[in-house]
Subunit: 370 residues, 2 copies
Amino acid sequence: MHFSAVKENLTDALQIVQRALSAKNTMAVLSGIHLVCADGQLTMTASDLEVRLEVTLPVEVIEPGETIVQGRGFTDLVRRLPAGRIVFKNTSQDGSDHMTISYGDNTADLYGWPGREYPGFAPEKDPAELTMAAKDFCEAISHTAFTVNADEVRPVFTGLLFQIRGHELTIVGTDSFRLAKKITVLNNKSGDNFDLIIPVRALNEWARIVAAEEDPFEMEISDRQVLFKTANVRLLAQRIRGDFPPFDKVIPSGWQTYVKLERKPLLEALDRASLFSREKDGTLVVTFHIENNLLHIATASEFGKVDENLPVYQEGETVDISFNARYLSEALKAMEDSHLDLTFNGSMGPCVVKPQAADKYLYLLLPLRR
Amino acid sequence: MHFSAVKENLTDALQIVQRALSAKNTMAVLSGIHLVCADGQLTMTASDLEVRLEVTLPVEVIEPGETIVQGRGFTDLVRRLPAGRIVFKNTSQDGSDHMTISYGDNTADLYGWPGREYPGFAPEKDPAELTMAAKDFCEAISHTAFTVNADEVRPVFTGLLFQIRGHELTIVGTDSFRLAKKITVLNNKSGDNFDLIIPVRALNEWARIVAAEEDPFEMEISDRQVLFKTANVRLLAQRIRGDFPPFDKVIPSGWQTYVKLERKPLLEALDRASLFSREKDGTLVVTFHIENNLLHIATASEFGKVDENLPVYQEGETVDISFNARYLSEALKAMEDSHLDLTFNGSMGPCVVKPQAADKYLYLLLPLRR
């Protein structure tokens, strides 16, 4: 393998690819980046077996080929090279690879592995093809992904549910204490229905990659995996097996208390109240008392207390309810709307937060026992 | 004590003061901020006994007085208050203080200590008064402070030497492996000579505080302390007792090898070489071979190697010398000059780095045994 490339193109591409590098993986080659050059292009791949990232960029191919370079070393070195065109030449000998990188009159060498040792990726047959606007995707992920803990031990709780019905996509995330549900649209060529759980880590990566993308991206859904792709980046994620909890059952259809309020003052009051809230196993507890069009928040600790009344529009019963303050403020931060609807079902029933006059998004939070 | 103040003024002032708060101090009141209000002003003080910071700001005084508030709690709360005017009212009862903070229709309370419990600061008699341009000070500190380790156990190595001779100020820093010496100017009203060692932490704080200051600041040197002040900020530092090492003796007067080179290419080559340098007790080792107007840097590790030649202007002998790469690159980063003079005294003698054609700054680095 022998090619030359412009440094800036390489660093841009490596910035994406290196995020799938796996430091703790047991397969040594997964600490590497797989390079394949042919047909005027270089394809760089990194994978931790759960998420696989591929970026393609134009290079001047002198001799096609493949190799695996030590991922962290390659990324760090390329970033430190002088601007401009850099020449890469790989030689294989005795089962190990050796890449010589030339810049100006100087050279660096990186030892690696033969390209054929990189684990392949088996494309599945007849995937369903869909496209989606990057902006819709990023918004939906920012409204839902924060409810999911990627380190959770139960696999279905490390992913987001994508429920596709025709051109409608419902994304649901939960950690069993709270739940976010967002309805958005995509272009589903087959028109078929799908229910799939996708690792939240993969979705967060994809949202980061397409954040500035103007064009729609493609999604290919197959039996065991889902492939996201733009013109030059591909992310392959393994679908999570298992049954997603029956989320529609926990969303109450009615309410005992309805409140309409401004989002920002509530978020700011919550922020202050958190400073003094009693901590219970690392959880900051805040309590709301809602009565007579006032939402009263009071917290006290050994070094002070805060006592606030927020004017709200209220219908229905008086309610006293305690929450994990972080769970509520994360949701308020994820919403951009100026006014919100909150509904309560007594002290022990779920609270539902919705942007005012929008039926495409809801956030459900279970109260804490007091 | 009862006063009102504009939130933004308070947060700006607290951002300075809170940096002297001491979390691990044994005196509980040192986790607090001392507030004194009188004559249309609020003075806030924090101290860890080594460094004492005072900021004064205009407030509307309703009733003068003093108190100590819990420092972290006060800072966090004020930052989270709504913009605009905020009312603070302190009451003392049974030996403990209680500050009520009112904003809009809401209130928060902070428990504190009576103001009289805050440790005083004894101004010393007849201090020498000097003034200095903030720009000169900040430049000199950025050229010298990085050589000093504030956590070093030997006290004299935790400070910078200020050697004042008339209007000339020489600042020296060292950790016994490297040394930086910078000559600058100040306005010394008495014209007397001074040798004082000032904690590097205090100097770094002061450089941060006056970084954007147009006016000169004042320095008051007395027997045991040194006071830095602008119109509204005062930093009091305890002078470090002890004898500073006789630095002039270690600076060689001659050289065996003289090299003139461009700073940036050397820094970049060093940066790449560091990636592959062998590590010895956490130290990244790089070796220079200088011969025939070429500076050759080569490093190798288990995952690769780099081999570079930098064209230089050379006089004198060929030299092979090894350095702690970090010590050299920190110095190269502290200099802004495009060209540097390097002099060497064999493999085991000190290397001296100077900006080209400048005699106001030098950096000395001892080589590593190879």
